[in-house]
Symmetry: C2
Subunit: 338 residues, 2 copies
DNA sequence: TAATTATACTAACACGTGTTAGTAACGGAG
DNA sequence: CTCCGTTACTAACACGTGTTAGTATAATTA
């Protein structure tokens, strides 16, 4: 059983045909005529020898690796706190395997050395999907301009590189609309991060759009900034509650920040949602287990991975994309906090 | 710039030597004499042409893929709830890249079709690391017996396949020891799952060992079963609190289950840890943000991935492992719930 | 019947590398 | 001067596949 694996040559010999014919049959090459008899002969011989084409030979011959590189440019700590990356990854893998592609994982700690270029130079992958803080990256831009298939997760300002992202602006709007529809009249906001980050600005924009659409005034004093931590949410919520005219509902643009905000509310003996409603953003795994279970906006993590993979494959196959970017819709998850 | 990539032949021609010499120089083949002059010539030519060896050619020639397959046999839902898998993955990637290996991710939904055998048959990977519920898997056993490098994450009963796992028994013991050292005298337990699962039995064993070592009696009525959900923890804790002689501390063998247990305690107006202490297990990302922050046992997720990768590579390189399994130590994370 | 065309294949090259066996050139020992 | 060993290389094969150009044979047409 530990004998050498059968090659297409062995199959050819057993079937009494040429290696070329074997290749034609097994790859179902279109536009080639093979008699049904020999076709069956070949298939039977392949089955009998337990033949599986050697991927290395295939790659060398075709010049394609049928492999997508997923480049994670994040510190190990960031990765640990990213509850969605795994789903993204599974989505990517599913899109890839559906088209006969495989996924190569590459984790990179720091940007400068551009370790991922090795994947490309050495022909490891046919295309890459890039995840990470998208600052200016000359190598990415150069690769893209050379026609190498690249898909970003998230948007990179001032470039034409294809991307896939969640429509967070619309998601934030949905969240605030939900509060409006529940009859809350004074709606505050705590951001997920500083406005230096595009993702924080987008969520703020959605908040403002929803208020405008509902003919509410936008009160800048009701907007506080968080910084990804529960502690920041705790503090921000306290300043909101200290205000003379405190809100009756708050859109917290991050579940993690919302955890702190909820603690601040409860510490004052106020009830959620009776005294003040809270809606989060992200739908982290424990959001449903908070006290009370947190209404929030679910990000299409799996879908982002899937779409990124699908687009990368389209680029690899030489197809045109109908648009530079894709924005996937979020989902409102209603629980008990609103 | 979009011209063909340089091959070793181009380098040879520019350097005025044979392709063989180029290979010898660039691969630093031991036991081969190359004059310093030509060595520098070759290196300079390679640099000048921006030469990178084509991995496909390498693979075909060497018969090795320098690739480790990470096989995830879990439903998408399970993957979503697994907060550690990503860390495991990053650990594996790090161990792999340290030795010049790459990681191929393969997600499989159901066991029967054994999709992962394709990875092996087609020479995609030199070895696999397997993660998932380890029921009997004849294919895994056969592959191992044929000498194919396999490392399991978690233990598979009645096999000699190498594995890497967390020492959960010791971890549970550590958790209970911590409660003992804090002076709690009546220590209950809520399991993470049914005793049908080895992981639940191991945690129970650790609990019992710690009590024995402290000369505490083991009171079976203080042990309740959870089933991975907060709801089960809520119910189990309620039955513990209803008992005539209720515990003053509880070891909950899963943070997720502990979330429910904490809710039950708080709902009765009891305080944590003053009235009843709770220690969890797993250290999920939000454990530190619960109210109060949960003391728990951290699993060495990154280390498991790293060790699995390292051992897989050792197997691939033909080295012997000093032992079938490796058990990595957990870490006590003290917060405010004890 | 002769010429064309469709059918069913095969010979041969290409992909880019690793590696074994072999060979000139040269210096030193006998 | 001859023999031998060392140094510094190279020729040639192997890896297993995809694919183009070409060739017999049989079927159809003029």
């Amino acid at each position: 059983m530990s004998a050498k694996r059968a090659t297409s040559f062995d199959v050819a010999r057993l079937a009494g045909v040429s290696r070329t014919t074997v290749s034609f049959v097994l790859n179902k090459v279109p536009g080639i005529q093979i008699s049904e008899a020999t076709r069956r002969n070949v298939l039977e011989a392949a089955r009998q020898l337990n033949y599986h084409p050697n991927e290395s030979g295939r790659r060398l011959s075709s010049g394609k690796s049928r492999m997508i590189g997923l480049v994670l440019l994040q510190s190990a700590e960031q990765v640990f706190n990213d509850a969605f990356l795994l789903q993204v990854l599974v989505g990517l893998e599913e899109a890839a395997s559906r088209s006969g592609f495989h996924v190569l994982l590459k984790h990179i700690k720091e940007s400068p050395p551009y370790e991922y270029s090795q994947l490309i130079n050495e022909n490891h992958v046919d295309g890459i999907v890039f995840s990470g803080p998208l600052q200016e990256d000359p190598l990415l831009i150069e690769l893209h301009s050379r026609g190498f298939p690249i898909v970003l997760m998230g948007q990179m300002p001032d470039t034409v590189i294809p991307y896939v992202d969640a429509n967070v602006t619309l998601g934030a709007e949905t969240a605030v609309n939900h509060l409006v529809s529940r009859g809350y009249s004074r709606i505050g906001m705590i951001t997920n991060a500083s406005f230096r980050y595009a993702t924080a600005r987008q969520r703020r924009d959605g908040y403002c759009q929803a208020l405008k659409a509902a003919n509410y005034d936008i009160d800048e004093t009701l907007i506080r900034q968080g910084d990804y931590t529960p502690a920041s949410g705790f503090e921000a919520m306290n300043t909101l509650l200290d205000a003379p005219d405190r809100p009756d509902a708050v859109f917290v643009a991050s579940d993690v920040v919302a955890i702190g905000a909820m603690q601040a509310v409860k510490q004052r003996g106020l009830r959620i949602p009776q005294d003040i409603a809270i809606i989060g953003f992200d739908d982290i795994p424990t959001a449903g287990h908070l006290d009370p279970p947190l209404t929030t906006i679910r990000l299409p993590a799996f879908g982002i991975g899937w779409a990124a993979g699908e687009r990368a494959i389209r680029l690899i196959l030489g197809e045109e994309l109908e648009a530079q970017g894709v924005l996937l819709d979020t989902e409102l998850v209603i629980r008990q906090s609103t």
